[in-house]
């Protein structure tokens, strides 16, 4: 309707120019220029159809009023035909050029607006995504800039139907969830005709994974502009996720640092008084004798056990706090046995301990501290479980069934395990020590098991990986 009105107005202008030219009694050439300028003006102001109609009307008026015979649509002189056709072509071409220039200017203006909107969106997204809710607000502004009448940002959790609406404006019918899910599942943009343009559902794709959907409802913006906005929003979603993970990692690191300093402090504060107690007990032992000496020995034994428990708990706490990770290295089994005997002086003093390491036994690949704790616990268990006059045997050999394992054994001549207890549960006397040994064994990449021993008693077995050392050339002496 508006276009028809504009076309009629354009023709009225042509008639007005004709009237003016006639009143001023201009010649044909002057009138032709006046018509041409009028057509250019109409082309600038209106659309192509109006400009074309105006060209035809102007040509007819030009012919009717200014080429002899005047008042007819015929032309006597052939030269005037040429003038009239030239005028018509010139007016058509000029109209077309003017309109094309105007269209290009309009497109350029639209692209400028889109780029400005995207720039504003990128600023919104990347300066404020560490603020709660900023992402949703930015997405709403992006949709508003794209001329959308509604829509919002929906993020996916576990799967495309686990949807979290971060922001939404306008009505949201039941079909929206399916459309959002469809765009996410097929990883493709959905365009659906709507009263004010169309509804567009744009998947937010990061590295091949769709993390959500940007829905622009009732928009006339170009698909390219909407997809650019979706890419920016996807990057911002990823950035926000990364920032959240980073904050989480920072909190973990700070927690670990706190645990480390606590463990260090506890370790120092427990070890120092225990050392003082142990030294005082030794001093007492050197100055008392008789029944008092036996009491001192008993105190020493209990202190030693307390020390071992504290060391166990600290070792497990360090592992659990990831304060230390096991640091395995090639270790000869004989050195482990020697170290554990040095570590348990009270057991060694009162008990015969026999050590046998097979000649072909390879080194063990184990964290020596953990292996020491495991062996110490198992030997203390054996010591408590078996009569003092019996021998505790420590053996090491290559596993008979698995050449990639070394088996360490702690054997005693105690009562052994209750029927059915082997390999599964423990007798009370072996409870905590064995549990600790098992936990530390698992942390060392090994396995601790308990079995009854032929001829009476129990065998604790620790299977640990073989250390692989390089072949080295040796020069004979």
């Amino acid at each position: 309707m508006r276009n028809i009105g504009r076309a009629v107005a354009a023709q009225l202008i042509v008639f007005a120019v004709t009237y003016g030219a006639l009143r001023l009694r201009t010649n044909a050439a002057t009138a032709g220029f006046a018509f041409l300028i009028t057509i250019l003006g109409i082309a600038v102001m209106t659309d192509l159809a109006t400009a074309l109609i105006s060209s035809v009307v102007a040509t007819l008026c030009y012919n009717y009023f200014f080429f002899p015979p005047i008042g007819t649509f015929t032309i006597e002189e052939p030269a005037n035909w040429a003038a009239l056709i030239s005028f018509f072509i010139a007016s058509l071409v000029a109209s077309r050029l003017v309109l094309r220039a105007r269209t290009q200017a309009e497109h350029a203006e639209a692209r400028r607006r889109e780029v400005e909107a995207l720039y504003a969106l990128s600023i919104d997204l990347f300066t404020a995504t560490n603020r709660v809710g900023a992402l949703g607000e930015a997405a709403t502004r992006a949709l508003s800039n794209a001329g959308a009448h509604g829509g919002g940002l929906v993020l996916f959790g576990n799967g495309v139907y686990d949807q979290r609406v971060l922001s939404w404006s306008g009505p949201k019918g039941d079909e929206v969830e399916d459309l959002v899910g469809g765009a996410g599942r097929h990883k493709r943009t959905l365009e659906i005709p709507a009263p004010f343009g169309r509804d567009v559902y744009l998947p937010l794709n990061i590295g091949g994974k769709v993390v959500g959907v940007l829905a622009a409802r009732g928009t006339t913006a170009t698909l390219r502009a909407l997809e650019s906005a979706a890419t920016l929003v996807a990057l911002a979603v990823e950035r926000e996720r990364f920032l959240a993970e980073s904050a989480h990692m920072q909190a973990l690191r700070e927690g670990d640092a706190l645990k480390t300093s606590l463990l260090r402090a506890v370790s120092h504060d427990l070890s120092t008084p225990l050392t003082a107690v142990a030294l005082q007990i030794e001093r007492l032992r050197s100055i008392v004798d008789g029944p008092a000496a036996a009491t001192v020995d008993e105190i020493a034994e209990h202190t030693g056990r307390l020390r071992r428990r504290i060391e166990n708990l600290l070792a497990m706490a360090r592992l659990e706090a990831r304060n230390v990770v096991p640091r395995p290295e090639p270790t000869p089994a004989a050195d482990l046995f020697r170290a554990v005997r040095e570590h348990l002086p009270l057991v060694v003093r009162n008990r015969q301990i026999e050590v046998r390491v097979a000649a072909d036994c390879p080194d063990v690949f184990v964290d020596p501290s953990l292996a020491l704790e495991i062996l110490a616990n198992l030997i203390e268990n054996a010591h408590q479980a078996s009569p003092i006059e019996t021998t505790i045997e420590l053996c090491a050999y290559r596993h008979p069934l698995d050449p990639e394992q070394v088996r360490l054994e702690v054997s005693d001549r105690g009562p052994g395990l209750a029927t059915g207890a082997a390999e599964t549960s423990d007798t009370p006397r072996r409870g905590l020590g064995l549990e600790i040994a098992r936990s530390l064994g698992n942390a060392s990449g090994g396995n601790v098991t308990l079995a009854n021993r032929t001829g009476g008693g129990a065998i604790a077995r620790i299977d640990l990986p073989v250390a692989h050392l390089p072949a080295v050339d040796e020069v004979p002496a």
Partner: protein, 229 residues
């Protein structure tokens, strides 16, 4: 009469300081005590001890700082008292110049053995002939005799044995072994050292189940444990 060796004890714990002092005095040492690294450094300068026994965790200047300051001017043996699980601290202390460590809670015999080994160190460092129980090492003749039998060693094994025996009682790090025996040759790894030491032990140790001469020092290197005769 031989003068009594003087030992400087640096520890912030009153109980440890007092007890250690009593033990060391009973076993024939002169003892001076300090509560932290700063007091320790002052006493070190004024008293010129033969050995320093220092804790690592202390207020004001800690044990690491004390080691650094002492090593700037002196080669006096330093033994540090470390807590179990403090392997990183041990390695750091050794790298800074400490000679040995004992792990708390320790026993008196263990501590005395470490102290004596360090005091002995300078006396055997320059000898070409070394005698240990059932073991004699003659470097001039390149001859090693264990339990009356001559042990034939490769040049590499002999160099390692020489280095470890000269530092008897003290941990010798992988880096030190590689620097001395292989002259720091690139491509020599800790595992290469382990293989050669393993071969040396098989030839040297009369009972592989109960090593008498060389044991591993976890994450650090090896220690020659026999005491010189």
């Amino acid at each position: 009469m031989t003068p009594r060796p003087r030992i400087l004890i640096v520890d912030d714990d009153d109980g440890i300081r007092t007890t250690l002092e009593q033990h060391l005095v009973v076993h024939g040492f002169d003892v001076v005590v300090a509560r932290d690294g700063i007091e320790g450094m002052e006493l070190f300068t004024s008293m010129q001890p033969d050995l320093v026994l220092s804790d690592l965790a202390m207020p004001r200047a800690d044990g690491f700082e004390l080691i650094r300051r002492i090593r700037a001017t002196s080669e006096t043996p330093i033994v540090v008292l470390s807590v179990r699980g403090g392997d990183v601290d041990k390695v750091r202390a050794l790298d800074l110049g400490a000679d040995d460590f004992v792990v708390k809670p320790f026993s008196t015999p263990e501590l005395l053995a470490r102290v004596r080994a360090q005091l002995r160190r300078s006396r055997i460092a320059l000898r070409n002939q070394m005698e240990f129980p059932d073991l004699s090492i003659d470097l001039e003749k390149r001859k090693v005799v264990q339990g009356g039998r001559e042990v034939r060693l490769t040049p590499t094994e002999l160099s390692i044995l020489d280095l470890l025996a000269r530092h008897a009682g003290r941990p010798v790090s992988f880096n030190e072994i590689i620097a001395t025996v292989w002259k720091g040759a690139q491509g020599t790894s800790n595992d290469t050292v382990r293989v050669h030491v393993g071969a040396l032990r098989r030839k040297l140790e009369p009972d592989s189940s109960n090593p008498q001469y060389i044991v591993t020092e976890p994450w650090i290197g090896f220690r020659f444990i026999a005491e010189p005769v």
